[in-house]
């Protein structure tokens, strides 16, 4: 382990000891403000503790094999043992309706239906309870509920933020991926592997339609904020990767790895070298839009299309001879890549091809990009080109060079294309727009081979790669973004890239290139060949795309001294955290090494992923994790209240195939989960904050659950799964730059809240008021605030009114009898019947005008159910 440089240890705070628990007076205030915050205040951080000693911290220790104390349910054994020590018994079972409501909210995020109430009955047996659990776990709404928890960890959003809040095209598909994965109970280790390296699996997981599921998880890397025209592109790269490492560390490992950016971690066994080792993995990876359904170029269908392309072209130009590229490079030109040399002895260039548009090798000879055009054009480009049109123009793909240093002022690129794009990506920065980066993006609309020249004086010495894009999805902040998707007929060709001190491109011999076919006088066999080319192309499925990771050149970073990218220190070869990977396996040179990283993260010797995950499940089911600081198991995090239970749950989880549903079932069938939540006088002194779980916790419904519940009880809920996000109504969007430009209805079409568009700069106001987190970092534990804006929303928001009116109409239609109406309203809103004590004021309220009919009747009942919606019983889950 490298010893930290003394300078790197300069304290971040004037006196780190002051960062320790506040004095009693402060503590007192915090109690008043936030009782549960009191949980064992953090133990003193071992600042300056030698790295080796930091390994003694509990979280680094392997999972222990623990035998649960004897009990009917293993979870209860652990809990009861701790309660016994303070002379407490668990609370009795919650009332049946409370149990049911709790289960529904926690498992599917919706209120129980009247049918479920009936099914569950007044005296449910354990078997009835288990059946309900299993039904909920099997329902598609389970995935919608739990996906939202996961999205919080990934800071899910559909835009890049900053000045113009550019869209991250197709980001919503990731949300659907998570919902599907949870509904299918994808083993969590596979889920993690796909997040880290889903694009690199030799056998990606596919859905029944053949869509690649695995690659979709890697979209999560791109929910990072991106700046519009940063003056320092390297600084921006460092900031982006910092956020990506932060999320990686917190979400999968429960570790604040990113704290080691400027110095060795102040408290945990994470030297700054580790941080830059991880940095290299991300630096070696690139943003692409990945196809969900690539057709492998070696497959029969793809090869058939290529053959038909040849046949058609050969018929047309039977005597076509190979044409030389005609390019003469000068001595000073640094050839970065040249398709002419592909697979030849001269070829040192590495190409990075994603998706299937470009096939597996450059193309030589004539081709027809759009055979179905009125006047199909046969074209021949001189020499070999990576060409996206040979198997039809609807294929999606990018081809890119290796990452290279910008040594000379000019980059010359030989290209051709139609409605496509060429980009020079400097320091991984994709938003190639004015004012600074506009010239790094070129629209390619010239179908003859030609040179494009980039002047890179501003970035001399930086790392770059050249990318040719033929995809319908616009790029990040695409200057042509107003056009929406790119048309079907676009294609691009890329031959060579050189970095040169000359401002003019290399000498090139000119050649005739275009033959226009006149099919009006076409021979039948041409028409036939054209038809079979069209058929072969049409047989290849067109694929949607998703933001994803793709491998670039393997790059090892250097430590940035004090986090300053202008001060590179020693090299930091790519490898996993040294504390968890004693073998110190470094990543291969040719690839990013993310697959190896995924394997290290999921190594049996790493206790973090299962421990962190089961703790998250516990958090969502009790409102507090066994480790309260769910995203930080480090020395500054909280200690586990039940370390044995935590390890037992983690073992039980991995022993059952990393099944999230199994572990949830395990927990919710415990008495501990099912017990009552009301406060107990006998526990005030010994367990006032309920750390030891002498009762369940009372919790407010989360933003999404609250809105979804209103939709459900009003009958407005559209239970449709998946799809593009629903935008906000126009008048709900503030007048600022980057306004979405498309808008949706007030009630979001009745769709569940997880389908509402999450735009960084235009977050849904109502959900924000109820603590939907801003997507900037991993949030495993949301704030639960209590602000007037919430009460105002429930009292006055037009949406709430609209839904209450629907709710009222629903109960009016149910019966003419007031008591029966109220019974239905209560079942929907509270999952129970109203008591006699409640019936009295309710009947008085709705009976104020016994004979009211029509609008007046609706008004009275709307007010009544609105009053119910404003009660705390409605807003809280007991």
């Amino acid at each position: 382990m490298p010893r930290p440089h003394p300078m790197l240890l300069a304290p971040l705070w004037p006196n780190p000891l002051l960062a320790l628990p506040p004095l009693l007076t402060a503590l007192l205030m915090l109690v008043v403000l936030a009782p549960a915050n009191l949980a064992q205040s953090t133990s003193p951080g071992p600042d300056e503790m030698p790295m080796a000693e930091r390994f003694n911290h509990w979280a680094w220790q392997p999972l222990r094999v623990v035998t649960p104390p004897a009990a009917e349910h293993p979870v209860d054994g652990f809990i009861a043992a701790k309660l016994r020590a303070i002379a407490l018994q668990p609370a009795p079972l919650a009332k049946p309706h409370e149990q049911l409501r709790r289960l529904w909210f926690d498992l599917v995020g919706l209120p129980p239906t009247p049918e479920a109430l009936k099914r569950f009955g007044e005296h449910p047996s354990d078997a009835d309870y288990l059946r309900e659990v299993n039904e909920l776990l099997a329902s598609p709404q389970f995935g919608e509920r739990w996906a939202r928890h996961w999205l919080d960890l990934m800071r899910y959003c559909e835009t890049l933020g900053h000045e113009f809040d550019f869209e991250l095209p197709n980001a919503w598909r990731y949300r659907d991926y998570v919902i599907r994965a949870l509904n299918q109970d994808l083993p969590y280790d596979q889920f993690v592997r796909e997040h880290i390296a889903g694009d690199l699996l030799s056998e990606p997981r596919r859905d029944q339609d053949g869509n690649n599921e695995s690659v979709q998880a890697t979209a999560s890397w791109w929910f990072v904020e991106q700046v519009h025209s940063p003056v320092d592109s390297m600084q921006h790269q460092a900031d982006r990767i910092d956020n990506q490492i932060d999320v990686f560390g917190k979400a999968f490992l429960g570790m604040t790895v990113a704290c080691a950016r400027c110095h060795d971690h102040k408290f945990d066994a994470i030297p700054t070298q580790d941080y830059y080792s991880l940095f290299g993995f991300v630096q070696s990876s690139r943003y692409v839009q990945a196809s969900l359904k690539e057709v492998p170029p070696e497959s029969d269908a793809y090869q058939t299309a290529l053959t038909r392309q040849r046949e058609f072209s050969n018929l047309w130009l039977p005597d076509a001879k190979p044409v030389a590229s005609g390019v003469t490079f000068r001595d000073e030109d640094v050839v970065i890549a040249d398709a002419n040399d592909h697979n030849s002895e001269r070829d040192n260039s590495q190409w990075f091809v994603s998706n299937d548009a470009f096939g597996s090798a450059p193309w030589r000879g004539p081709f027809c990009a759009n055979p179905n055009d009125e006047k199909p054009q046969l074209r021949q480009l001189p020499g070999a080109f990576w060409l996206s049109a040979t198997a039809g123009t609807q294929r999606e793909g990018t081809v890119a060079t290796a990452t290279f240093p910008l040594e000379h002022r000019y980059v010359h690129v030989r290209t051709a294309g139609d409605h496509s794009r060429l980009k020079l990506i400097v320091d991984g920065f994709h938003i190639t727009r004015n004012p600074i980066y506009g010239d790094l993006h070129r629209d390619i609309d010239q179908q003859e081979a030609h040179w494009i020249t980039f002047d890179v004086q501003m970035w001399l010495g930086h790392q770059a790669h050249l990318q040719a894009i033929d995809q319908r999805a616009p790029d990040l902040g695409d200057p042509r973004h107003n056009r929406g998707n790119y048309p079907d007929h676009c294609w691009i060709a890329l031959q060579s890239v050189c970095n040169s001190p000359h401002d003019s491109p290399p000498e090139t011999a000119s050649l005739p290139q275009v033959v226009v076919a006149d099919l009006a006088s076409a021979k039948p066999k041409w028409l036939e060949a054209k038809q079979s080319l069209s058929d072969a192309v049409a047989a290849l499925p067109v694929s949607p795309t998703i933001p994803a990771m793709a491998d670039g050149s393997g790059i090892d970073s250097h430590v940035y001294l004090r986090g300053d990218h202008k001060r590179p220190g020693e090299a930091a070869p790519r490898r996993f955290l040294s504390a968890l990977d004693a073998a110190a396996t470094t990543a291969p040179k040719e690839t990013s090494g993310r697959l190896e990283l995924a394997n290290s993260v999921l190594a049996k010797t790493n206790p973090m992923p299962p421990r962190v995950l089961v703790n998250r499940l516990w958090h969502h089911l009790f409102g507090r994790g066994l480790v309260k600081s769910v995203d930080n198991f480090g020395a500054l995090g909280e200690l586990p209240t039940h370390p044995d239970l935590l390890d037992w749950l983690a073992q039980d989880f991995t022993n059952h195939g990393w099944s999230i549903k199994h572990s949830i079932r395990r927990i919710v069938t415990s008495h501990t989960y099912r017990q009552r939540s009301r406060r107990r006088q006998d526990a005030v002194a010994s367990d006032g904050d309920n750390e030891l779980l002498h009762r369940q916790n009372v919790r407010p419904l989360e933003a999404e659950v609250l809105r979804d519940t209103l939709l459900a009880i009003s009958g407005r809920l559209d239970s449709k799964l998946y799809g593009q996000s629903i935008e906000q109504p126009e008048d709900a969007v503030t007048n600022a730059r980057g306004r979405p430009g498309r808008y949706g209805p007030l009630d979001g079409d009745g769709r569940r809240s997880i389908y509402l568009a999450i735009r960084r700069n235009f977050m849904p106001e109502m959900l924000l008021a109820f603590d939907l987190p801003t997507p900037f970092a991993t949030v495993g534990r949301r704030n639960t605030s209590n602000v007037p804006a919430q009460s105002l929303a429930l009292a006055n928001a037009p949406l709430v009114h609209e839904l209450c009116e629907l709710f009222a109409k629903r109960v009016i239609e149910h019966s003419d009898n007031h008591a029966q109406r109220l019974q239905l309203a209560y079942e929907l809103a509270f999952a129970r019947k109203p008591s006699a004590q409640e019936m009295k004021p309710l009947l008085e309220f709705v009976g104020q005008n016994q004979d009211a009919k029509g609008e007046e009747e609706v008004r009275i009942w709307t007010d009544a159910v609105h009053a119910m919606v404003n009660t705390t019983e409605f807003r809280f889950r007991r």
Binding site: P22, L27, D165, V227, V698, A736
Partner: protein, 470 residues
């Protein structure tokens, strides 16, 4: 004893609820306030107080888009003399990369008041207040793009997600206002680049985020009841009754008690907010002074904002931010048509800001209220194109007034072109540290633990600039 405090929560005055959401419900907040060697539960409900405060509230007149000091406050003879000539110093890379020749101020400057402050003729009313101002001509920022710089100015950090200074202050000090949030944003119509995150609570509890008051339509989201008062009262009565029955059945729970109190409070806010916004009760002279009757519509809007700012601090609101109306010149971001943009914007703010200072002083509020005027960075002393100025984070002007800042003072200086801060450079973190200091807070001890780190408004930087303080 602690337990009693928690149980007794429901008895806390409502001001606590609004001011700090004392709601036991902050329960699962992501972090906690750490490191306050002195924490008080003083009568003002503050969490933090390290020393006796010199000021009680802040009004931040946020000049979105970055006004040019060279045209307004930072007079440089060389700029006048060398107007149109090649720029005499090396130029840093700029946002638009179209740096041209030296560009002199678009209007004349004069010295004003006993203090002899240089102020442009574009600000005739403000010029009369010269002796109230503490002008810092040596500000610098770390970012030259709006969004980063906006986040930086507001949160001390260039990326999204940190709490705004108003949120920090509101969280730490609570609110003296009975029915209003501690951090209010009077939105003139434009939300600055970076969006409402400039006013966000970040990792602090949600209640500390800035409440946006719009100048058009409903000032506060959902503040207007959709049913008649009688209907709503009846409804509230039923809700109360049902809540009560539930408590009788299930017992008290602090979270639920807090929610109930909150509900009641929201109901009362429905009256408090319209009362605040109703400025007809102000004298004709006052409204006239603020420009509420001005013929230029943006002066009217900004005048109303400034008047409301006074009414807010009068009611005990801790931090008021006033943003720009849309004058049709893209905020203060004059990459071109410099003169036109400055004319419009100056006309918009000049009269109202001068009135605000005078009014606060007349009511004895200026002593305890800090007025801060400035943008996220400055502009280049050389032209962008022919008649614009590009972004310049290296040197710019801000001023403070009241709240214990030295009146009629100039501090720091840029070089002879007004390009870079040269004498006594003052950072954004220094500004934050100094503002906090005046409120009785030591910025180094005001930290909040989040994600495993103790975070503060000033990151790991910042010094209190005592030379500015009376």
């Amino acid at each position: 004893m602690l337990r009693q405090a928690a149980n007794g929560f429901a008895m806390l005055p409502l001001a606590h609820l609004l001011g700090r959401d004392a709601s036991a419900q902050t329960v699962a907040s992501n972090g906690s306030l750490g490191n306050n060697t002195i924490a008080t539960d003083g009568n003002d409900g503050s969490l933090v107080r390290h020393h006796a405060p010199r000021a009680r509230s802040i009004i931040f007149l946020y000049m979105d888009g970055a006004p040019s000091g060279q045209d307004l406050f930072d007079y440089k003879e060389r700029l006048v003399k060398e107007n149109g000539k090649p720029f005499g110093l090396p130029k840093e890379p700029t946002q638009f990369n179209k740096a041209g020749n030296t560009l002199g101020p678009v209007a004349k400057f004069k010295q004003h008041g006993e203090s002899g402050q240089w102020i442009s003729d574009l600000l005739p009313n403000l010029a009369k207040s010269a002796d109230k101002l503490c002008v810092v001509r040596s500000m610098y920022a770390d970012f030259s793009e709006h969004t980063n710089a906006n986040y930086f100015l507001h949160t001390g950090h260039g990326l999204q997600g940190r709490p705004s200074m108003g949120a920090w202050i509101g969280y730490g000090l609570g609110s003296d206002a009975k029915n209003l949030p501690a951090f209010c944003v009077l939105n003139g119509g434009l939300v600055p680049p970076g969006g409402v995150d400039n006013f966000h609570s970040g990792f602090l509890p949600a209640h500390s985020q800035g409440s946006l008051f719009r100048m058009e339509g409903d000032a506060v989201a959902n503040i207007k009841p959709l049913e008649s008062d009688a209907r709503q009262r009846k409804q509230l009565g039923l809700t109360r009754r049902l809540n009560q029955i539930a408590i009788e059945a299930d017992g008290h729970d602090p979270a639920i008690d807090a929610a109930i109190a909150n509900h009641e409070l929201a109901f009362r806010m429905q009256t408090a907010v319209p009362d605040l916004l109703e400025i007809d009760g102000e004298s004709e002279a006052t409204r006239e002074m603020y420009g509420c009757n001005d013929e230029y519509e943006h002066t009217r809007t900004y005048g109303r904002q400034c008047l409301l700012a006074r009414r807010l601090v009068e009611r005990g609101v801790r931090f008021v931010e006033v943003t720009m109306p849309d004058t049709g010149s893209d905020r203060w971001d004059q990459h071109g048509k410099l003169k036109r943009g400055l004319d419009r914007n100056c006309k918009t703010v000049d009269k109202p800001v001068a009135a605000l200072l005078a009014d606060l002083e007349a009511r004895g509020l200026l002593d305890e209220t800090i007025v801060v005027f400035g943008g996220e960075f400055g502009r280049t002393p050389f032209a962008q194109g022919s008649d614009g100025r590009d972004h310049n984070p290296f040197g710019f002007t801000m001023w403070m007034a009241g709240g214990g800042f030295k009146a009629g003072t100039s501090y720091g200086a840029t070089d002879e072109y007004g390009y870079k801060a040269e004498q006594n450079p003052m950072s954004i973190h220094d500004l934050h540290a100094t503002l906090l200091w005046q409120l009785g807070i030591d910025h180094e001890r005001f930290v909040y633990r989040f994600g495993g780190r103790d975070l503060r408004l000033t990151d790991v930087y910042g010094n209190v600039v005592r030379d500015l303080l009376a």
